[in-house]
């Protein structure tokens, strides 16, 4: 790790200003990706602006027909939340299976989606539940938020403040974890809500994606059988020592089926 300046503001405004004023400032939430990257000397920010004391960024609240989860809310808090468990249990299940207990105690929702790791779980929730990402300047629809491998619609220094998850009629998440890292080799979130059915896949491609064919099939028949014969093409999917693109394509169907089964309860 290289030396850096450490700042710990207590308000959102101060945090945004601190990053803007720094030569190469970075927000620090849970640090689950940023700190290891810095330890490997692959990142050299001039300033880390710790969001841990910005109280307004944390917490889970019901707002009409949605749950609004603050950006610095940890995975463990989401997993343990009664609001989440009773209104979007699939989201609680997803949070409860991210990484390991240490990661869940530190890692945050905002950090996860801003980083946009192709194998992270939360992108599947954001897209699969049709959420809206709130930032310090605007609202971004889930389908516009993730733009590619580690790429999002966030502008320079733009900060995720919360994610608004509409409460679905039903939803399910199924994940095939990487045996080493427990990131998603393939994770599929399926939901049926006011705006119809969504099927979002993480881990399989460079970025989270929806499977329109499965969504249409499920709209007519919300059952595992509806998706079991629908497959995504292997070409363009991730391929590494843990899973080939072909195997990932196969797992998308299997996990979609299981997510539907979980949603159907």
């Amino acid at each position: 790790m290289y030396a850096f300046n450490y700042q710990r503001p207590t308000s959102l405004d101060a945090a945004v200003k601190a990053v803007a004023a720094a030569e190469d400032g970075k927000y620090l939430a849970g640090g689950m990706t940023l700190i290891p990257t810095m330890k490997q000397r692959l990142a050299q920010p001039s300033d880390l602006v710790d969001l841990g004391r910005v109280v307004e960024l944390s917490g889970i609240r019901r707002d009409g027909d949605a749950l609004v989860i603050g950006a610095t809310t940890t995975h463990a808090e989401v997993a343990a939340s009664e609001e989440v468990r009773s209104h979007i249990p699939a989201l609680g299940h997803l949070a409860d299976h991210i990484g390991d207990p240490a990661v869940r105690a530190r890692g945050t929702l905002g950090g996860s989606i801003a980083n946009a790791d192709p194998a992270a779980d939360y992108p599947a929730a954001v897209v699969g539940l049709g959420a809206t990402v709130e930032t310090n300047t605007r609202s971004i629809a889930a389908d516009e938020f993730f733009t590619g491998l580690f790429e999002t619609a966030l502008g320079d220094d733009e900060l995720v403040t919360a994610v608004r998850f509409p409460i679905p009629k039903r939803a399910g998440y199924a994940k095939f974890p990487n045996p080493a890292s427990r990131y998603a080799v393939v994770g599929v979130m399926v939901s049926e809500g006011a705006d119809g059915v969504r099927v979002a896949v993480t881990g399989a491609g460079p970025s989270v994606f929806r499977v329109a064919e499965m969504e249409q099939a499920l709209a007519g028949n919300f059952s595992p059988a509806a998706v079991e014969r629908i497959s995504v093409p292997a070409s363009g999917l991730n391929s590494d020592i843990h899973a080939s693109d072909e195997y990932r394509a196969h797992l998308v169907t299997v996990m979609a089926k299981r997510a539907v089964a979980a949603a159907a309860g």
Partner: protein, 783 residues
Amino acid sequence: MTDTGIGAPVRRKEDYRFVTGNGRYLDDMNRPGQCYAYFVRSPYAHASFTVDTSAASKMPGVQAVYTGADIAASGLGGLICGWTITQKNGEPHIAPPHPLLALDTVRHVGDTLAVVIADTYHGAKDAAEQVVVEYEALPAVTSVTEAVKKGAPQVHAEAPGNLCYDWEIGDKATTDAAFEKAAHVTRFEVVNNRVIPNAIEPRAALAEYDSGSDEITLYTTSQNPHVARLVISAFIQLAPENKLRVVAPDVGGGFGSKIFIYLEECVTAWAARNLKRPVKWTAERSESFMTDAHGRDHVSNVELALDGDGKFLGLRVSTLANMGAYLSTFASCVPTYLYATLMQGQYTTSAIYCEVKAVFTHTTPVDAVRGAGRPEATYVVERAVEEAARELKLDPAEIRRRNFIQADAFPYQTQVALLYDSGNYPGTLDKALDLIDYDGFAKRRESSESAGKLRGIGFSSYIEACGIAPSSVVGSLGAGVGLYESAQVRFNPTGNVIVYTGSHSHGQGHETTFAQLVSDRLGVPFDQIEIVHGDTAKIPFAMGTYGSRSLAVGGSAISKAIDKIIAKGKKIAAHTLEAAVEDIEFENGNFTVAGTDKQMDIASVAFSAYVPHNYPSDELEPGLDESAFYDPANFTFPFGTHVCEVEVDPETGETQIVRWAAADDFGNIVNPMIVEGQVHGGVAHGVGQALLEGCRFDDSGQLLTGSYMDYAMPRADTLPPMQIATQVTPCPHNPLGVKGCGEAGAIAAPAAVMNAITDAIGTRDLTMPATPEKVWRAIQSTR
């Protein structure tokens, strides 16, 4: 049995300091004025290079930057391999030079070419980035099958064809003849995957130099500090043994990887003397992945010849063993005398021939990892036996029964050099069948099937040669050292005891087990016994801990020293009690004149020995402090049967281990709780190799599994609750009747797991680690 004596499940007394954060590991230690070392390592698997340290040397706080040229100029020697294998042609194996820092060529990713010593760790690391290395990348080879091909990139000019040695054991002609008359031959290729040891504590070294006494003290993460001192003194020639103290404090796991003498501790100690300042080095985890000696990595052609009744007539094995880029300290003996000598297994196979080619590649050096050779042998034999049973449609338990060496056949001379001293193989098989409820398997399989899962069962009837080993035997086979162990049992005047043992505990629980042994034999309360290990300034010359040898060899040395204590105590008691020595009996800590109530407890005897006012001074020296060295008469031969049951999800290829039975025979047991823990840990290790742990290099030699993001270790939820039982067939040739238990699980487990998965999915073409994708593909291939 007392509640702290032999056979009692005493809670580990060392755990208090470990769980309360009071363990003293190497990185906990610091010295005033300490500098830090950071090593410059190659990002290429094979390259020639030139190095320029001028910019790095000028960085703030930098005390020195050393390269291979500096080491060469200092006259230090290189790293050695301590076991010379004699090849088929009578020539010694080829051991190319292994300089502490590479001179002009690097041969694996992580190969080390310079070191920066600076006032701070980050300063050293910053300066290391300023060491300018011009690499010229050269072609690399990582797999043994590629490395032996004509035209493959050469690792060392000294080793044409990348061949370190070509070695054989057994009778080729007899074995070939056995195959001629076979009714059935089972043939297949067996790959034993490379594993990375992953001790929880990374390797580390802290050296300080006392210019007044000209003495170097080296604290290092070692399983055998005296062996480290011997090699660093005699071969690296850093300092004579009397001016070099090596201390291995609390060490957080080794699994073999901390047996070896590595360049970092040598360079750190040398730098401390050069700079006259303490120098500390602690590996980062990524350095551990790249530079701790790896394990296994064999490719074998295996042929098992059987008669019409399923009796084993012959076993023919041809193995390529990966040595990596350099010969590590004991690398050469692992795929030979710790491997091929175990091809007899538990069976009466009447002809065996095994040839082994050891091969250099552009990869991290390979050496012993928990089991060391014996897991590879067990995997060959037990996979072959299981496949033969399937091909002949014999029950896997039945084929083993038909071939077992029977309990009345010991001592049993094997076809591959070893003399098995004792055994009862049907006994552990029967126990294992009971534990797993073998009769209920068919029903369990049906119920799995109705849930859409494939269920399979796999056996592994393993044998190991432990308690390493008779010095004369290993000497005749090429070892550069003896393999005895030392002990010193010292009474203090107030009656408590300090035991100095040459065995080193890095998680094994010796402070408890050895204290139980001493308490049991001498009648001294358990909590008045201290076990001291790991310091060449305190303990007699010793060989250390590996090969499940601590209790069998180190414990036997303690037992011998105790015998001397008792013999001397009897003389002291006889004098005090005014009786003949022959009439003195010793039991439960008391010396008694036979047939009388005259007695003297051992604490009083100890006091009398140190305050010898009324003492037989003309025939006895004062003091009650005895040393012993124990050189075993033979290896010990733990054995057993493990049975694994798996459920495979055919949709994903995921394997879940659903039942595990382990019936082991470790001889007498001192602490059954510690033994059970060792079985759990060993099985976890072996299951890790079978399901999860696959060290992978790409074609250019980059380590793809260089962190826990990509290298999967077993976790608690990888394993089911285990059904464990032990059978006791005491070892006939050591005073404790013990054999060793630390490696058994790692030796037994891989074959049991792979036999179970291949049973479940109905094809034998599956390699370790049996990842979900591999299993899924294997299932697809059967449909």
